[in-house]
């Protein structure tokens, strides 16, 4: 009965299959994250570092005491059992909940990513529009040229330059930390600018493609001007691929904010994760990977469903 119901509602079928796929991916991500944290070590290593005279027997005793001495498969089973209940243990440094620490830092990173993406998308749409409407003329060439140059700049170099210029030399903006809206500006720029060329290229390509389609010809035939054609009709149809691409970028950005968070001492999960790996805070590392993977899966799911809802043709394509 369910099957026939699903057969009648392709959208539901799509949603269901995407959900199932997401669960599989999540499962795999948890497996990898456990294996990784097992390979990098455990708090016993970190706590005994520099301890002159600490022999391996002592370290092993400490490891058992902390609960990392069991065989791999036992710990794996334990890990999954707890992870499914959203329990990643505690951070040996704070004594607090590992997942709690991650969830406390996550909003800061999400805020940063949201601002960066908003800026990047808005700028990309504007630049792509200008580029398309002045195709192959001076404005188009200079935009594409500038973006080609920007694309080659390492992102940490850009971040350091921004701080040097706007913070240290001019003193307009804070250099580190998250003390209010003004702290957002430089990190957002540092994240948005490197991805801007790709967004612009994608948007521009989509716009050009859409403008070749038949319906645009018919709209033009109605007598609408070029500007109206582009703004009102082409953009709306060129957006769906951008949504999918953006969802991809979000997943990348949330994990890829490490460099920017390091330079700006931003209290997000990038900093938290790097710190936890270095200190062998296993619970926190596992929680970060799990949360990142989950957010990627969810965001892609949402993006897919949005696109499918908007475009009836997509729902017909088998997963």
């Amino acid at each position: 009965m369910v099957r026939s119901a699903l057969a009648r509602h392709p959208f539901a079928r799509l949603a269901f299959s995407r959900l199932a796929q997401g669960v599989v991916v999540l499962f795999g991500a948890l497996l990898v994250c456990f294996a990784l944290s097992a390979a990098t070590g455990d708090p016993a290593d970190a706590l005994t570092v520099g301890q002159i005279g600490a022999d391996s027997a002592q370290i092993d005793a400490l490891r058992d005491h902390l609960g990392y001495g069991d065989p791999f498969l036992t710990r794996l089973g334990d890990f999954f059992a707890h992870a499914l209940q959203a329990d990643f243990g505690s951070s040996y440094r704070t004594g607090g909940d590992a997942l709690g620490a991650v969830l406390a830092a996550l909003p800061n990173t999400l805020l940063l990513v949201a601002c960066a993406l908003t800026l990047a998308i808005s700028l990309a749409i504007v630049l792509a529009l200008i580029s398309v409407m002045h195709r192959n003329r001076a404005a188009d060439r200079s935009i594409r040229g500038a973006l080609a140059l920007v694309q080659g700049v390492p992102d940490f170099w850009l971040a350091v330059m921004l701080v040097l210029l706007f913070s240290v030399t001019l003193g307009w903006l804070p250099a580190i930390g998250f003390d209010g809206p003004r702290s957002l500006i430089l990190p957002t720029l540092a994240l948005a600018i490197p991805v801007l060329p790709t967004f612009v290229r994608l948007m521009r390509g989509n716009l050009l493609d859409v403008m070749k389609l038949d319906f645009v010809t018919s709209v033009r035939a109605k007598g609408l001007g070029e500007r109206d054609v582009v703004l009102r009709h082409a953009v709306r149809n060129a957006l769906p691929p951008l949504i999918t691409f953006t969802a991809l970028q979000v997943g990348w950005l949330v994990g890829g904010t490490i460099i920017v968070e390091t330079i700006f001492a931003w209290p997000g999960i990038g900093n938290l994760a790097v710190d936890a790996v270095k200190a062998r805070d296993v619970g926190v590392v596992q929680a970060v990977v799990a949360v990142t993977a989950l957010s990627y899966v969810l965001l892609n799911l949402v993006a897919d469903l949005l696109v499918a809802a908007a475009d009836p043709r997509i729902r017909m394509v088998p997963a």
């Binding site: 570092v49 440094r93 913070s167 330079i263």
Partner: protein
Amino acid sequence: MLRRSTYEESFPSTLTRARFLQASATAVAALSGAQILGGCGSTGSGAAGDAPAGGPPQRPTGTFRFPLEGATTGFDPAYSGALLSDYVVVHAIFDRLVAFDPAFTRLVPSLATGWEQSEDAREFTITLRDGVRFHDGEPLDAAALKATLQYMSTAAGAISGLLLPPRYDTLELVDALRLRVVTPAPQPDFIRNQAFLSVMSPKAIKAGGEALKRRPIGTGAYRFARRAGNGGALVVANNDYWGDGPYFEQIDFEVIADAGARINALLTRQVGMAYRLPPTQVQRVAGASGTRTVSGDVWSGVYVAFVCNKPPFDDVRVRRACAHAVDKEALIRAIARGQGRVADTFSPKGVLGYAPPAVRYEHDLEAARALMAAAGHADGFSAVMCVSTAQYLQPQLAQAVAGQLEQIGIRARVEVVDPIVQSRALLDPAQKAYDMFPTDWTWLTGGPLLQQAGTVQSASRYDGRDLTAPLAAMSVTPDGPRRDAAFAAFEGAFSRQVPILPLFQSIYNDGLQQDVGGYEETPKNGYGPNFFPMYTAA
């Protein structure tokens, strides 16, 4: 027989004279060093070293923001010495029995107003200050000190194991404020080590458990308020502090792991201070308006430890060849930007335990090559150095040393690894992968701490009797001519065998906001500032 030795006589007379000479030499060297580099900016107007004009405020005011290099892991003083981030916070919350004077030449009273020590250094009587209370209201008395000493001796933490005897024969409460300690073996540095050990509240010790790590209770000028989510901490002023200070309403310790970000934060006035600036950034901070630098020789040095229990560095000729091949002056100029002094001994100058070396190895490539040939390595060999980026001045220093060793045929490859991996490899006696470990060590107490801890043997795997015998002797000999002889014997053997190559003694530079006062010289124990006298000038 109890010999009364007051705090002025904590150091034997021979050392006092040497210390005077060394102190004046330091002053001259520092001045000339500053002029050569311009690093400390002593010639500029608004000079980088000048203290602010205003004095401390009447009442604690403002928030002082201090950046930590890494997240804190806990505030139990028995364990907190291993990590600088932990120790800096602990240092603000607790007092110690004794302290060093600002010039770090002698011990002065802190929580202890007087102390006596027997001639055989087994019996100590400590007199405590009256009227001091812990942050939880408990009074400071002999019982509290006894509880602290007992707890620290049994705690498995790295620091307390180094600084205290594992057990006591007697811990006797002579009266409310006097404690008598008798140890089974002589403890020549017992009093000196108290300059590093915090006195904890007995109520907290009795409660025990996680609270000791999470909610520290001391007698210091600042109380613990809370730990921040990303590893920082907040401490607030203790208005009932028995001594001078505090002058800040609160100190906000925040984690800024990246050194460049810390300096940027200092330059944009987002933090009040940046501790231990990289030498290449000193000029930048000193030259900026609104910030100044403070520097000082510290009881810390940079070394290269050889792995002496396997070829090729098991041959002393090879080690001596390396000692001749390395141009320490060039290293100080290029890598440390002048912030160092050539060292030829294990113990830095100014630390009790320093004695002149028996042999000095001049930079002499011919001699080095001759020694290599004599050892059968005329064609050279390959070697691997192990460093981590978390170490001071690394990996540039390791690469520079490798470049110098190349000139005598040693093709040294520098492998950069994770700090924990490096530390583990350094102390693993059986490891085979690495031949040299560049490292830096800090003497936290001004006494022969690292000699007694067996650092030389464990880092270099050298266990010849010419080294181990004086090391054992100096651990159980009270201060005096016999102990000095043990120091001399050790440094003599050390310089002849070169199990570890000393490169230079470090000069630390700290950056401050121009209006922050009460901090005129980097503490010699190299382990973080003392916040109690610090203030923001009005």
